[in-house]
Symmetry: C2
Subunit: 510 residues, 2 copies
């Protein structure tokens, strides 16, 4: 894997000085083209050995390119804010939008490598991390990003030589730390782990490019040319043809039975009994969120449902029981301009709560496989791959003690009609009903199919869907509150039993 | 994941009898179209719970379709032959060729699931297996196969009911075994592991289709329609457009240095000294292969190199030291008709040796990234993904104690010219030189680039490349024999230390 990066590549100063001006100009041109087209974003990971020139490479890119269109992220120790969320959160919040370049010094590979080298994890844990990384990168590429992974390498002799040189010079002595020499002693271990990382995650869509790091002029020219060629190449690709669907189709309807039809929509709760139950459940919910262990977890509540199914009212019954400092309701409508130039999950990642909080999504990432599917806002290939991407997304939350509670509020077609008419008649409900609602109603069966497929493909033990019979609002609200309380109680019990008393540190398999 | 498959789907007999004739006819038509076009193969995996009708489904497919174009593989206990090789070998040997349908009852998921349920493995081991499965399936799809994964499911109550019904009837009593009841008691464990498997390996290109298994008529119609739609859909896809390359390009040449240029091509061995060394090394090799632990490993030797670099002569020096019953030399030329209708790795899988054997490949799977790349016999996307596929392939061998020893025999352009001319002049060497050799020679630099990329991307700790300076044949042969002996000796030492004394059983992570 490292053969060509240990040969002693060198570029003469005279050659370098002759080549650089043209390269810089071409890079600026490509960058300008990219910004103008805003067709895709460029994500550059700079990884490699200590002393191989990673920092210098990042500096170089900033020097050579237009700083307005390039963002650099030195991923050092995570902040409190970041430790509170799944490990990938810090990368999602730093993703460049389309048209821009994001350079990452340190990446989702940093911790898995250090953990493995230091024996804190096993090979199988490393494999899990690497597969997660590969899946993330595949998703980024499927969403249109150009992912360039640069790996700067040094042979053992060269690393030693480099450290010694730096130490000799009083101006650069500070660059060599005890940690560097410690890592140097572990050179062979690092090399073996690095090799595994490169082999396992050099995928067809985002391979590692291994570059010898010793000679700065060789390194700079190589990095510059690789990035230039990659951006130019992608700019020249014609607009994406619809990707071919290679999978067999989803299950066709064979009999007339489906999930939503099996719900008993007549279930109801009397008003008087409702008031008693509601008060009790709200009290219980409030108490649960004040449990001392609650600060080591968080809760994501997802509301999806038919139009006029009563999502808003249900959400208010939840938030009514919570301390306003600790919850947030995120209504999801059409994406903003800022959100449209990012992978579709970006706008949900940004709202993930800190520990000890509750976030309620009024509609969610499931829009991808519901409205976007039915209305054709994305291609079939896009929503087909979304099921897996969403499961991966939720798995990351669950791994980091963000509980995911998902409700589908179902009403019958007749009940919807009644509510629509009521909304039209009642002045203060008027704003709630639009032309679009009537249009969606015409596609009732298509939406039903999409809901069933969604539940079948994304209801998991870690993050199950709860189908809520919502023809009777009282019944629905009680079912929702009870489900939520039960789930939180179970999780708290688990936290008490396992004695969790820390926030999320980079851990096994991260 | 199983919601829709626990609803109690049913099809009335009258509906069934009305629908089946048309479905069967359509299936036969589709099968005929498929056979005629031979455009792709269909791989159907039938998985699921005991008692869910897996066997009946396989029988049904055989009954409904033309048996000449469908092959069924009940993957029970592996044979001795199969235990001797990597786990996937048995599936590769059973892959249907293009135009045919292969039905697998039991698959690469069977053992990972059983091992996990029975606590022989951890979650991380299961994840490793699942990722390997997903990578395999992705490769099959990239090679053109249609992969249909059917999962037959039953709720716990339905499974119990099913077993009791079968037991009541004297004609079907034999179908319910002790093992079935044991698994029934583990239902919840199975369900949890199944869910994980389905979630993790429902990829965009090969998702699982979960089907309720209780009612035979519902199950049959569903399976039949799914397969029909999938085959029809793929037949209608237009011929594959060239897949777009989304990865950044390989490293461009920056300076004039590359791997092959760093070889000291003047190295030579005197004839007299050669004879002594050769005899000694051949003796050593022979002795090594007679070590009692040698029967628990096998050796794959790969020879690649410039035309006229001396591969044949080197191979004869190896085989000359071996017992003829225990080695095989596989010369790789253009693929046969039978091989062309399979994924490109198929023709190498079939030659993997049993334990205790040596197989020498005179040219190999590396043709994909050498001649096929340079001559344009496959698309850029194809050879770009091949590096990862080849690493996965070799990783499977190494995991199962098939040692992979790879030699690149390098000669200079001048030396090649000398040998070509010599071949033309010498009668008994005439057959060795063709027009093609001269044509290849014109692409010398392109081949050099391909070789460097190949070494950089596929030389790994588990299966490193050895570059052999072959201008002097004696030197080359000695270096090859010595490398081979050293590698075998190391492996034998390891086997002695770990006390291996078994052939490959399905094990952790399989």
């Amino acid at each position: 894997m490292f053969e060509s990066a240990e040969l002693g590549h060198k570029i003469k100063k005279s050659v370098y000085e002759k080549e650089v001006p043209a390269l810089r100009e071409a890079l600026l041109d490509a960058q300008f083209e990219l910004a103008k087209s805003a067709a895709f974003q460029v994500i550059i990971l700079v990884g490699g050995l200590d002393g191989s020139g990673r920092g210098a490479t990042v500096n170089l890119l900033n020097e050579w390119m237009d700083p307005r269109h390039i963002q650099t992220h030195g991923m050092g120790e995570p902040s409190d804010e970041e430790l509170d969320r799944p490990m990938m959160w810090r990368f999602w919040r730093s993703l460049p939008p389309k048209g821009k370049i994001g350079v990452f010094l340190g990446s989702w590979y940093t911790w898995p490598i250090l953990n493995r080298v230091n024996g804190r994890t096993e090979d199988a844990d490393l494999d899990q991390s690497l597969e997660r990384a590969a899946r993330l990168e595949k998703m980024l590429v499927d969403e249109g990003a150009l992912v360039i992974k640069l790996w700067l390498h040094l042979s053992k002799e060269k690393q030693e030589k480099r450290f010694k040189e730096l130490e000799k010079n009083p101006l650069t002595r500070w660059k060599v730390t005890k940690r560097d020499w410690k890592h140097y002693k572990q050179y062979d271990k690092f090399r073996a782990v690095h090799e595994k990382v490169i082999r396992h995650t050099s995928t067809a869509e985002a391979p590692w490019l291994v570059i010898e790091g010793e000679d700065a002029q060789y390194r700079n020219l190589t990095v510059g040319k690789v990035i230039l060629k990659a951006i130019q190449g992608r700019l020249q690709l014609e607009a994406s043809p619809q990707p071919r669907i290679l999978a067999p189709p989803l299950l066709p309807p064979i009999d007339n039975l489906h999930l939503l039809k099996t719900l008993d929509m007549t279930q109801a709760v009397e008003k008087k009994s409702y008031k008693v139950k509601l008060e009790k459940l709200q009290g219980r919910l409030n108490e649960l969120t004040r449990d001392p262990k609650f600060r080591y977890m968080s809760v994501i509540v997802v509301f999806e449902g038919n139009d006029a199914a009563g999502k808003g009212g249900s959400i208010r019954r939840i938030t009514g029981a919570l301390d306003a400092r600790y919850y947030q309701v995120i209504p999801i409508a059409a994406p903003t301009e800022e959100e449209r130039v990012q992978p579709y999950l970006w706008r949900f990642w940004r709202h993930l709560p800190r520990k000890g909080r509750v976030t309620v999504f009024d509609r969610s990432w499931y829009g991808r496989v519901l409205v976007e599917r039915v209305e054709g806002f994305c291609s079939e290939a896009d929503w087909m791959r979304a099921y897996g991407e969403i499961n991966d997304f939720e798995a990351q939350m669950v791994r980091h003690r963000l509980m995911v509670v998902k409700f589908w509020l179902a009403i019958t077609k007749d009940e919807q009609l009644r509510r629509f008419k009521d909304r039209e008649k009642t002045g203060f409900k008027n704003f709630k009903i639009t032309e679009e609602d009537w249009r969606n109603r015409e596609k009732w069966e298509l939406y039903e199919q999409a809901v069933c497929d969604m539940v079948d493909r994304t209801s998991t033990l870690m993050a199950p869907w709860t189908l809520v019979e919502a023809n009777d609002k009282y019944f629905a609200r009680i079912k929702i509150l009870k489900t939520l309380c039960d789930r939180i109680e179970d999780k708290l019990k688990e936290l008490h039993e396992t004695g969790i008393d820390y926030l999320d540190k980079p851990k096994k398999g991260d």
